[in-house]
């Protein structure tokens, strides 16, 4: 891959991301919304790929596109009693719209007003997975954070099991 980011690829993926997000928010069917989220995750993984972040892209695919989406679909299916329950009114909230537009406007303003020119050039060294892995497990690298992250996952796992078990019998 050359040392520039392909504009066409970026444009396609960006359209996929934003289109998927809009589809997720404005579809009436909650099951379809889960699939739109899946599409956004896959597009985001594509973005990570063109940013040479192979590992993050693969994790994104595995965690979001597979695990999270499946989890979503399952819990939707469990909480739906009938097929028709999946169809729901498009909730609209003026406050939410105002907040969203305000946030977006401020962010874009800040970006355009304060961005440093250094961020424009693409550095020549693409990171690779081996170096990433070495840093991840280095003691003076990210090993401690990694262990904490795994602890968080274990706690979340136990908590999730405990919550869902409650009220059974």
């Amino acid at each position: 891959m050359s040392e520039t980011i392909n504009g066409v690829a970026f444009a396609i993926l960006a359209v996929m991301c934003v289109g998927g997000a809009i589809g997720m928010l404005f579809t009436k069917n909650i099951v379809h919304a889960a699939f739109w989220l899946l599409e956004v995750s896959v597009a985001a993984a594509g973005l990570f790929f063109i940013l040479n972040a192979d590992y993050v892209a693969l994790v994104q695919l595995l965690v979001y596109a597979v695990a999270v989406a499946v989890l979503m679909v399952f819990s939707i299916m469990i909480t739906l009693r009938r097929l028709e329950d999946a169809i729901r009114p498009r909730d609209f909230s003026a406050l939410a719209a105002v907040l969203g537009v305000l946030f977006c406007g401020v962010m874009v303003y800040v970006l355009l007003a304060f961005s440093a020119p250094a961020g424009q050039k693409l550095p020549a060294v693409p990171p690779d997975i081996a170096a990433f892995g070495k840093l991840l497990f280095a003691v003076n690298g990210w090993a401690l954070q990694f262990e904490i992250a795994s602890l968080i996952l274990v706690v979340a796992l136990v908590g999730a099991v405990w919550w869902t078990m409650e009220g059974e019998d």
């Binding site: 040479n52 946030f103 693409p126 081996a130």
Partner: protein, 640 residues
């Protein structure tokens, strides 16, 4: 020649466009997928012209182009397409049948409210199949292979409100998954051996492979092909798959997807040649499938199931040809079979559509009401039975000739027997449906959109047989016309098969009372109606033990694991009761003091707390945004 990319891309584009649109719009733009497949057909012919006149080495590639998608782990990750003789033939076949089926579906599915979705999945399927045919890379082949499995699942379960299609789709998905694992295994073996999945590299490097690699890879590929092409013992999904819409069955479960297994073995033939034992296994599996499928077809009462078992049997014949290392004969039978079997399925669709039943015991005398269907179905049946000038005759003869040349006399006998059974059950089907007493007066011929594709397929079926010599030369073989002896043998087989079918089912003077034959066959007939106990065997072998082990684990869980957990819990309670005393005296005093303080604070803040999750969340997020805006304003003002 980069326009070749458009062949799979056109239907894929149709799929994406259809899925993105709302249902109401989707249902009204059926011209889009049909236009896409017609375009793909035209391009396929152009691609075919590029390979014409063929005749080179089977593995020689006419065109190849790879797109580098990125760098993964330091290696360039590329996917690409290639065109060769095998690919060109399949391109033309697949697109032609797909076009016929899509036009036919206009009539067959016209009042289904999810017709748009149906067309979308059909397009995705076609795209995946064309991608598989053109793939220059085993990974892309695997992806498209899985996509086809997914589409098959979606189409079998198209009427998901009904019980049978739902179950059948799950069964198909799970059974073919067993085969897909074989594919995955082969992929790993090959990558481990040579570090690439490029087809040309894989096929050219076979002599350098370590011993055993070719065998392992071939076993994986064979299992994959058996799953997809419904070979015994993985054939159980195909008859159930008939619960899907009939045109989809015609395209997927008769003409194209089930042929993908044959295609895969044909494409990877050098691997199989390096593993003669697996090749022999292919021959044996094909023989068993050809006979079992034929026998089962002879006892079914459902029109579509007869055709489904017949498909299994014919796929078995193709596997036999592959097992005899004859790619040419296998592919030629694949092509002719694709045409006449999809024709038969489309005919069955018209019959089902009109008679409102699939059980042929409730049919009869349809000939008068639907002349076009009658003629085309008859042509298809005769082709399948292997009658002289029609396509099935030539392709079956080629397989016979291959067996004879290879001195595989037992395989030769198997092919003869399979043809005999084929002729018998097709005669039975024909007489049951089209002749005999009429059962219903409300019958009508299919709509023109349904009959026109059938006429086109019938026309192809009539003429394509004569291309057999040219076909073999196109693939780089010596082609020859069937010898007189073979013609005599297969004519005799067809006559005996059709004659016995007529004797049992066709004679007007005899009241059709097949009970007699059934009683005489006794146990054998019972075994056949139970599908030779394949499903029952799977129930006993896999499902029952699974439930049994699950029960065992549950017992273990409740006695051992729960015991440990409870023991730990009890110990913990002891410890806590000690600390409880301490707690009550010292801590409580401090806590109560703080609590009094915070209660007073809480009362005043109470108005903010509605207790509603939604309003909390709004508050938090609004505060966040407001804070951010304040920050930005502060920075801007300070900076200015």
């Amino acid at each position: 020649m980069n326009w070749l990319l458009a062949i799979p891309a056109l239907p894929a584009f149709a799929f994406i466009a259809m899925v993105a649109l709302p249902r109401r719009v989707r249902n009204n733009i059926l011209w889009l997928p049909i236009g896409a497949i017609v375009g793909a057909t035209a391009l396929s012919w152009a691609a075919f012209a590029q390979v014409w006149p063929g005749g080179g080495e089977l593995t020689s590639v006419a065109w190849n182009y790879s797109w580098v998608l990125g760098v993964v782990g330091g290696r360039p990750f590329e996917l690409g397409l290639q065109l060769d003789a095998i690919g060109a033939i399949l391109l033309v076949t697949v697109t032609f049948v797909a076009t016929c089926v899509q036009i036919y579906s206009l009539g067959y599915m016209h009042n289904d409210e999810r017709i748009g979705w149906y067309y979308a999945v059909l397009s995705l399927f076609t795209s995946a199949m064309l991608g598989l045919v053109l793939a220059d890379n085993l990974l892309l082949a695997f992806v498209t292979w899985e996509l086809m499995g997914l589409c098959s699942y979606l189409l079998i379960g198209f009427w998901y409100q009904l019980e049978a299609p739902r179950k059948a789709s799950q069964k198909a998905f799970l059974v073919t998954r067993v085969g897909d694992l074989g594919f995955l295994f082969a992929l790993m073996v090959i990558y481990k051996a040579i570090g690439t999945w490029e087809l040309t590299d894989v096929l050219s490097s076979i002599p350098t492979w370590a011993p055993g690699v070719a065998t392992a890879a071939a076993i994986g590929l064979l299992i994959a092909a058996m799953g997809k092409s419904a070979q015994v013992p993985l054939h159980v999904w195909l008859p159930d798959a008939m619960a899907g819409p009939t045109p989809a069955s015609a395209l997927i479960h008769a003409a194209t997807m089930v042929a993908a297994g044959v295609y895969l073995v044909a494409r990877m033939m050098p691997v199989f040649l390096a593993a003669p034992a697996v090749l022999q296994a292919t021959l044996i599996i094909g023989s068993i499938t050809a006979i079992v499928g034929g026998l089962l077809a002879a006892v079914q009462h459902d029109v579509k199931k007869v055709l489904a078992y017949s498909t299994i049997s014919q796929l078995g014949l193709m596997f036999m040809a592959l097992g005899a290392a004859s790619v040419g004969a296998a592919l030629f039978h694949l092509v002719t079979h694709a045409f006449f079997k999809s024709l038969l399925f489309l005919g069955a669709g018209v019959i089902i559509h009109s008679a409102k039943t699939q059980d042929m015991r409730e049919m009869g005398g349809l000939r008068k009401y639907m002349p076009i269907t009658w003629i085309t179905f008859l042509i298809g049946s005769l082709a399948l039975a292997g009658v002289m000038p029609l396509s099935g005759f030539f392709s079956k003869d080629e397989i016979l000739a291959v067996m004879l040349h290879g001195h595989n006399y037992w395989a030769f006998g198997v092919v003869i027997a399979a043809s005999l059974i084929t002729a018998f059950y097709m005669t039975r089907l024909y007489f049951r449906v089209f002749e005999g007493p009429e059962q219903d007066e409300h019958l009508h011929e299919g709509h023109i959109s349904m009959t026109a594709p059938m006429v086109a397929l019938a026309a192809v079926t009539c003429v394509i047989g004569f291309s057999s010599v040219r076909f073999a030369e196109f693939l780089g073989h010596e082609g020859e016309w069937p010898s007189l002896m073979l013609i005599a043998i297969s004519a005799a087989v067809a006559v005996v098969g059709i004659g016995s079918g007529w004797w049992v089912y066709g004679r007007r003077s005899v009241v059709v009372n097949t009970r007699v034959y059934k009683d005489r066959l006794g146990l054998a007939y019972g075994a056949l109606t139970q599908k030779l106990y394949f499903d029952a065997a799977y129930e006993i072998l896999f499902i029952k033990p699974f439930i049994f082990f699950a029960g065992l684990l549950a017992i273990f869980d409740s006695s051992v694991i729960d015991g440990i957990v409870n023991g730990v819990a009890r110990g913990w309670i002891r410890v806590s009761s000690v600390s409880w005393t301490f707690d009550g005296i010292v801590i409580d005093g401090a806590v109560n003091g703080i609590a009094t303080l915070s209660r007073q604070a809480g009362t005043s803040l109470r108005k903010l707390q509605s207790g509603r999750l939604q309003s909390y969340q709004r508050l938090v997020l609004s505060a966040l945004v407001v804070l951010m805006v304040c920050l930005v304003i502060y920075v801007v003002v300070k900076g200015a």
